[in-house]
């Protein structure tokens, strides 16, 4: 069972990262694409809690950092998604009360994740992105993530619930 779980999670991360670079550029708005890996991490956080989500965030972030054509310093998305997974996991009891709360959680997660990534870029000068440009990208990224939430988040949440049936008794 544990092998199956690891396999499913690996496939989900690979699929998210691949679609992010190979499919969504055709639907990109000004180069910004929905951050599928982030949505997967948030879904995991809402179902499984902060520890699991932070761990998953690290792996998913590393995959985003390393999969071609990524060229940034490795570990930057990993750092961002660890924080996102942890924070979303902390508020999961409130986030699951209604659909609006879930969407607000995604928006906040997307804002935090993209901002941490942009800030780490500013600190590392990798590359030296002007602040104005980072500020123009973040709102688009957040709205695109929110736009995709109704299609991705329930699906992912159901998947993580299936992988961990024991948790269903909590609610």
């Amino acid at each position: 069972m544990i092998v199956l779980r690891v396999l499913v999670v690996t496939v989900v991360i690979t699929l998210a990262v691949t679609l992010q670079v190979a499919l969504f550029p055709y639907l990109a708005y000004d180069g910004v694409v929905p951050n599928l890996a982030l949505l997967v991490v948030v879904a995991a956080a809402l179902i499984r809690g902060p520890e699991f989500a932070a761990g998953l965030g690290f792996l998913a972030g590393l995959a985003v950092d390393l999969a071609p054509p990524a060229d940034q310093v490795a570990g930057r998305w990993a750092l961002a998604l660890v924080v996102v997974g942890y924070l979303a996991g902390r508020v999961r009891h409130d986030a699951r009360t209604s659909a609006v709360a879930a969407i607000v959680t995604v928006a906040a997660s997307s804002f935090v994740g993209t901002s941490i990534f942009a800030l780490s870029g500013l600190l590392l000068r990798d590359p030296a992105v002007p602040v104005a440009e980072a500020l123009s990208v973040i709102p688009v990224a957040v709205s695109y993530d929110v736009l995709l939430t109704p299609f991705v988040l329930p699906l992912m949440m159901r998947l993580f619930q299936r992988l961990e049936p024991r948790r269903q008794v909590v609610y």
Partner: protein, 308 residues
């Protein structure tokens, strides 16, 4: 903290999320970042990166080939097939004519200056290895890179020039077996030596890091007495041994010129000829004498397009 009462009814692990896990993972992230920043080109992360390339490259090739047919769907809805082929034919003709026009100025200048070091013939005689763009980095990552579906097995090596039928696209950053990563010239880290078509003045073009319609390059001229003319064409200056950029490839047009009191040299904003948001078929400039292991057809100056 409003959910404290609900949490208390659950298992102990839930009531108090472990800080240790978070700290451990944050430290792990910082370690990876530090290793990669300190290491530079031979960082310990580099083998990991190429391993990820070997795994994700073929997956991206597969995904792109599945997705590709659906890209044409909006076209089916808006135009008939005959109209579409007409448009394609005219666009190809148009960009061919535009390419001819843009290089004429430079070629004429070259002939005038009897520039023996730069052979004019070479500017049209490059052999191109065709490849398709299969993946594009998101703008959230602030780096403008794309994946192409040709790798070391097709003869692609790092630091090769990548062009398409409009002009210069970028250079190969790293090559895996089945795929390669290309740094676009609009990336903030990209610097290309450029030459103004009309005055033959040289300068450096730096990307601004935006891919969309606002993708622009900044040109710093070496000679500060020269003012670039509007709409003047900029071509590659050419690097030593043609690595990473071959010479004479059109890059863009001068959109506007400004000079700041702080800088000595004049700066020009260059609008690239290539539309980076809709990149598809590109060509990698390779040594025409070498045949790729994959048997991929080369496009040569004679127009012998022996595609796969």
């Amino acid at each position: 903290m409003a959910s404290r009462s609900r949490r208390s009814s659950q298992s102990g692990q839930d009531a108090r999320p472990s800080k240790a896990v978070l700290v451990l993972l944050l430290l792990a992230s910082f370690t990876v970042i530090t290793l990669d920043v300190r290491g530079g080109d031979d960082s310990p992360v580099e083998p990991l990166r190429s391993a990820a390339g070997e795994v994700f490259g073929p997956v991206e090739v597969l995904t792109a080939s599945v997705v590709r047919p659906f890209r044409a769907v909006p076209d089916f809805l808006t135009t008939t097939s005959s109209l579409r082929s007409d448009v394609e034919r005219l666009e190809a003709e148009n960009s061919a004519l535009r390419g001819e026009l843009t290089t004429t100025v430079v070629d004429r200048n070259r002939a005038d200056e009897l520039d023996g070091l730069l052979e004019t013939s070479r500017s049209t005689g490059y052999a191109l290895l065709p490849a398709r763009v299969i993946g594009m980095g998101p703008a959230q990552s602030f780096s403008s890179t794309v994946t192409i579906d040709a790798g070391t097995s097709a003869g692609v090596r790092p630091d090769m020039t990548v062009v398409n039928n409009d002009g210069l696209v970028g250079r190969v950053l790293r090559a895996d077996r089945r795929s390669a990563t290309v740094l676009l010239i609009v990336d903030a880290e990209s610097v290309v030596g450029g030459r103004l078509g009309a005055s033959m003045e040289v300068g450096f073009l730096r990307g601004r890091g935006r891919v969309g319609d606002r993708g622009r390059l900044d040109l710093d001229l070496v000679d500060n007495a020269v003012t670039p003319a509007q709409d003047d064409i900029v071509v590659t200056w050419g690097s030593r041994n043609d690595v990473p950029y071959v010479s004479g490839v059109p890059i863009g047009r001068v959109q506007s010129v400004y000079s700041s009191p702080r800088e000595l040299s004049k700066q020009a904003v260059i609008e690239p000829l290539v539309d980076f948001s809709s990149l598809d078929l590109v060509g990698i400039v390779v040594d025409g004498d070498r045949v790729s292991d994959e048997g991929r057809g080369l496009i040569t100056a004679q127009g012998e397009g022996t595609g796969p």
